[in-house]
Amino acid sequence: MTDIAAVPTPAIATSSAGDWLTLLKPRVVVLVVFTGLVGLLVAPGHLHPVLAFTAVLCIAVAAGAAGAINMWYDRDIDALMRRTSRRPIPAGRIDAGEALGFGVALAVGSVLVMWLVTNTLAATILAVSIGFYVFVYTMWLKRRTPQNIVIGGAAGAFPALIGWAAVTGDIQTLPVLLFLIVFAWTPPHFWALSLWASADYERVGVPMLPVVAGARSTRRHILAYTVVLVALSLSPWALHLTGTTYGLSAAVLGAGFLIGAVLVLRDRQDATGVSLTNDQPAKKLFRFSLYYLFVLFAALAVDRLVG
């Protein structure tokens, strides 16, 4: 007869509700929910508040599901990196298989519910965004190319498109521009972080740009993508798709982003481009980039709702 007391407690028994929430990468989800909500608010037409809430919830759950599957796939390198070693899977609080099942169930559920409450196009784009993050970014690009964040960043750019499609059932110029803005915002945002946080990636062999091309090249890339981002952010105004509130906000915020990128490029550095100021300009730019996207999208929503 089995001695029950001698049976080791499964790892799952030690997990808390917070561990399961951590699997969903809630910090990333906040940004995704916000851009999705703005896409939904600025779209012409009307969606019942209950259905709109459900659509945004589906976007949040889908993003969380993709995050959970990402944590399942990356559990080997997460265990070796200081920033991620305390995540629930590498720390042994959640079984890897359970995490995968959790992520897949949420992914399928969110797409099905989105389809039921809105339309086929929104559900399809939602499914594509999950697949893009899991298969294209996590499994294919992340460990193979320093351009991983450029192409993979598209996954985080889909929510505005999904929010719009949930209301209208189609895609027009403005949501495509919103997609491109988030797409162009991701590389300078993430590379600013990677300038001072690439040691972990280097240790596990993930080819982040500073690891492969060096800090000096990364600084130039940040400025180049910032120029593209600012041009794209002004395009909705230039094309008369938005009003003055958005246009002025985009101009002021863009100027701030450009100044920050120039300061990162001109940071005091050694011959290899490594900062001698503890990467203070890059840290400031990273923080600014977060505010940038929130304020830019908030300005768009205000512009549409007031204008």
């Binding site: 407690t9 028994a13 030690t14 509700a17 019942h48 209950v50 459900t54 409450v117």
Partner: protein, 53 residues
């Protein structure tokens, strides 16, 4: 003199039970929220298609 009762194991068990209870409550909250949400969705969809009239 009576020896002090061991505290490590009971604390560990208590923490385990607390985490399990937290998970159960979270699951209950999520399930109830889903029931309410699906009920609301059904009502809105039926109203939109005229099924309620």
């Amino acid at each position: 003199m009576a020896s002090k009762p061991p505290v490590a194991e009971p604390e560990s068990d208590a923490a385990l039970i607390r985490r399990r209870r937290g998970r159960n409550i979270a699951t209950l909250v999520v399930l109830v929220a889903l029931v309410v949400l699906f009920y609301a969705i059904a009502m809105v969809k039926m109203a939109q298609t005229g099924s309620l009239t």
